[in-house]
Symmetry: D2
Subunit: 138 residues, 4 copies
């Protein structure tokens, strides 16, 4: 990431006061860390909008493991996938419901396609794709 | 908004370089303006999350004016509404389809309720609520 | 849009009950209208994700008309733009602040580019792009 | 979830055709499953908007484990938290960067507060909260 650079920012006093209140509420240690987080989020959003560089996505699924053979199908899609399935975590929410988080590496359109396949399965009640990052350059 | 205050921000050189590329692409004149926009967006998001202060929302609707009496119903809801309907603009997209933007003032939950009433009408094909701001303090 | 087609949908009774509560709260007249709205929103989202077909976007801006010559710059960008600027509405929020909604026609990446130019102007405090639709086929 | 109920939905033929294309692209087995997914997503969104019932959230973090003692702080916040931290998964993205998914149970505002604490830590480069569900009633 290279050395730390310091530069000046100008902001109206009223806006700065509101920002200071917001970052206190969100537990930031200082303005720089809060601004860096806003900047990193904007960069990652732009990376996903363009979609040409390899990145990381997280698919979060809530499903009923007793519906059909959803468990096998989830595993099958992950093994057949052309994106790299790095790791997954399974949580038993109750007797019927499971939550699974699956970390995928690849280009955004490829990650989206695998996410669509997982989310559309019968038995999967809720599915969301988190547009993540490798952290490189951030 | 008060006087302009200047303060220092520290950022890793690699992150700063990516940010500079992004703000050039988005046509910002300098880092301060880009950072102020990120800060203002975060503050407005927080204001809507809390929802206790009066603010401004914009409802955008696409509808078929030939479906039932959707035009009359849209007008009726706006006149009966307890939030202040400031203004609206009507655009003829084609022979059947219209786009309407409606500016509402009130507290976030009140604005949401009117937006829900407008969006759920038969004939309204697409409806979105933009969480805006009065601009005060920003 | 063609004739009205009727088809059967199966849903667990518990899920259907929650859906009925939600659509009552949102003022829908019946399940079909609520489901059509969900379907239309999903189709429009997909159209914007792909971005090859001409569509309609709405840019909502809050700005301080006394900052520099933001008003002239907003007009200039709209006139120079290669996307079609259909119409705009201007609302005086208070002595300083204005809200403007601008309707643009073009392909999603072109609309985004003009939106970026408008939103990044100094004086523009808040800017949002609503991914709309021509209504055709919906 | 109770027995499966079947009911009729009416939709314009042109809209239905576009929907059929979209669900084929997203790998859905049939219209009912696709519509159930849209309905479940709308219900979960509404649950988070209201925020009074206990639910499940997933926090996804990308961080540099070499920045300060971010690892210890992440663990400390999770142990001190009043919401239930169900489980977490740690993925080594490269020599410096880690991705962590953390499953939390509690009411939406409580989950948000813990998420804010985790996301605002120095060393955490990217943090997102996924508004999940226990799956009950869906």
């Amino acid at each position: 990431m290279g050395e730390l650079v310091r530069f000046g920012v100008s902001m109206e006093s009223g806006l700065l006061q509101q920002f200071d209140e917001l970052i206190a509420k969100r537990h930031y240690v200082n303005r720089s860390e809060a601004l860096r987080d806003l900047v990193r989020a904007a960069i990652v959003e732009n990376q996903w909008e363009h979609g040409t560089a390899r990145t990381v996505g997280v698919v979060c699924l809530v499903y009923n493991h007793q519906t059909g053979d959803v468990g096998h199908k989830l595993t099958h899609i992950q093994h057949e996938s052309e994106v790299q399935v790095v790791s997954s975590m399974h949580v038993h929410l109750d007797h019927h419901n499971c939550l699974e988080t699956i970390v995928l590496r690849g280009k955004p359109p490829e990650i989206r396609q695998v996410a669509d396949q997982l989310i559309s399965l019968r038995g999967v009640k809720l599915g969301k794709l988190v547009m993540g990052s490798t952290g490189q350059g951030l």
